[in-house]
């Protein structure tokens, strides 16, 4: 049986700069994996290649055995590190949009989360604050029953209270058989929810292991190990 995500000999170059260098790893279902590394380590590049937004220079990515394409996009729910929703639409129209394109989208769950946050579905996105827009986007992404959630910096640039909400939303809204790949450099905020971590440094995987392993073998928290590995 194929892995949920399989990355083989993946390389991405921008001119002479190597953003990803011959990456190889597999992710299985039912895990929360932290994709950790400092700015410029290649986290977003890796995520974009998995989601089909960037073309790799070499290597391949498969999701449930399928190459990046329609089938992989059906099972990946992606939250980018920026707002990707059009400004003119209303929240409700955006939900309709997701309903139309994603068979696994649960509109009731989305409206329920909106209601809990007091966000009016008829609001136009351009009238919402940046933080509220990010919450709407997270709600849309987490209202899918996807196999793999890929969240790029979901807690960057938001206040601590919003971080708690976001993490709580992530934990309480994903199927246990699904996996979540979270990219961040704010490790202390998320390390309690992680099962595994991938340390990415200058386009290379320098560590891929379980969080319990780090704690038992190294006697350190993920945050402490991160600071050690990526010391400037």
């Amino acid at each position: 049986m194929s892995s949920l995500l399989e990355v083989s000999s993946l390389t991405k170059k921008y001119g002479n700069v190597t953003a990803l260098n011959d990456l190889n790893f597999k992710l299985e279902s039912g895990h929360i994996i932290g994709l950790l590394g400092p700015n410029g380590s290649g986290k977003t590049t890796l995520i974009k290649i998995i989601c089909g937004l960037l073309q790799p220079t070499a290597g391949s990515v498969t999701v449930n055995g399928n190459p990046v394409g329609v089938e992989s996009k059906k099972v990946i729910s992606y939250l980018p590190d920026t707002t990707y929703l059009g400004k003119t639409a209303s929240v409700k129209e955006t939900i309709d949009y997701f309903c139309d394109f994603y068979e696994d989208f649960d509109a009731d769950r989305a409206y329920d989360m909106l209601g809990k946050l007091g966000i009016n579905p008829n609001s136009r996105l351009r009238t919402l604050s940046k933080g509220t827009k990010e919450k709407v986007q997270l709600i849309l992404v987490m209202s899918r029953r996807a196999d793999l959630y890929i969240l790029d910096e979901p807690i960057a640039g938001v206040d601590p209270a919003a971080r708690d909400y976001i993490l709580n939303t992530i934990i309480t809204n994903y199927d246990e058989n699904a996996s979540i790949l979270i990219s961040t450099h704010l490790i202390s905020d998320i390390e309690n929810i992680l099962d595994e971590v991938i340390f990415l440094k200058q386009g290379n995987i320098v560590r891929f292991c379980g969080v319990d392993e780090i704690r038992s073998d190294e006697g350190k928290s993920v945050d402490a190990l991160f600071r050690e590995v990526f010391r400037c």
Binding site: G15, K48, C51, G52, L53, L54, Q55, G69, V70, E71, K73, K74, I76, Y78, P80, T82, T83, Y84, L85, G86, T88, A89, E93, Y97, D100, F101, Y102
Partner: protein
């Protein structure tokens, strides 16, 4: 899925093109009213100036509405595909070809309607003008029939060529713009500038190619030939020119279409 993409694209884009088309038709009606009213008002110099200004405004309005429609569609294409909105567009579980098809279909429909509203507004203004003259409806009809015959619409196949040209012109226009924008995205930096330069470069190329249509029409041979009836020559030149334009437009559109798909399938990197 293509139907859903088209539906959402129409929902997202309808306001601006429809508003511009409506403005054009209203401007046509107002022009017709002004043209009809002014000759009956005293102070003819002032009113004539007003009428000419209004007709000028109508002319500028036609150009502006068509240009704004195209710019709006191009910006929408660029934003939807190559800015942060592209993160959603290109992660939808649909083939890239379908995304491009939906954009071309909706863009072509809006451009076609823009041309149609331009034509309707000119007809309305034209009716206003003819009502101020002594020319009867029969005479106008006869004039059109004469032109119809000179240009050779009655000839087999020519009407079909004209219809095909009219239908593919908005599609070709949209493909030219979308291809230019996509081509500009291949630049490492300054992608918007790249797109604009591609639009200008391809425009120059299009102009050069259209010169071939003129040369290939046999203009110089026919106009200089002794004993050739001017009406017959003009009709033949026009038919030759339209045939060449039709073939060139189809060929250009095919090239733009294939290359736009190729770029978006294989070359696009959303940084």
């Amino acid at each position: 899925m293509l139907g859903k993409l088209i539906k959402h694209d129409f929902i997202a884009t309808w306001k601006v093109p429809v508003a511009l088309d409506a403005v054009l038709i209203v401007l046509g009606i107002l022009t017709a009213i002004v043209i009809q009213t002014v000759p009956h008002v005293e102070d003819s110099l002032g009113m004539s100036l007003f009428m000419f200004s209004f007709v000028g405004l109508f002319y500028v309005g036609i150009i502006a509405a068509n240009v704004v429609t195209i710019i709006y569609l191009v910006i929408r294409y660029y934003r939807n595909l190559y800015t942060s909105e592209g993160y959603l567009t290109f992660t939808l579980p649909v083939k890239t070809d379908m995304i491009i098809h939906s954009k071309v279909i909706t863009g072509s429909v809006w451009l076609f309607l823009s041309y149609l509203s331009t034509f309707i507004s000119i007809v309305i203004a034209g009716i206003g003008f003819f009502k101020t003259t002594d020319v009867s409806v029969e005479e106008i009809k006869a004039g059109f029939m004469e032109m119809y015959n000179i240009l050779g619409f009655a000839e087999t196949g020519f009407t079909a060529i004209m219809v095909i040209t009219m239908l593919i012109t908005p599609i070709a226009g949209i493909l030219y713009m979308y291809f230019s924008v996509s081509l500009g995205q291949l630049w490492q930096n300054h992608k918007v500038l790249g797109s604009v330069l591609c639009i200008i470069g391809l425009y120059i190329l299009n102009q050069l190619l259209s010169q071939f249509a003129f040369l290939g029409s046999g203009f110089f041979q026919l106009m200089g030939a002794p004993g050739v009836d001017i009406d017959t020559s003009f009709g033949r030149i026009y038919r030759n020119m339209m045939l060449i334009i039709c073939i060139l437009t189809l060929a250009q559109s095919a090239v733009y279409y294939v290359l736009t798909l190729f770029i978006n399938r294989k070359k696009i990197n959303l940084d």
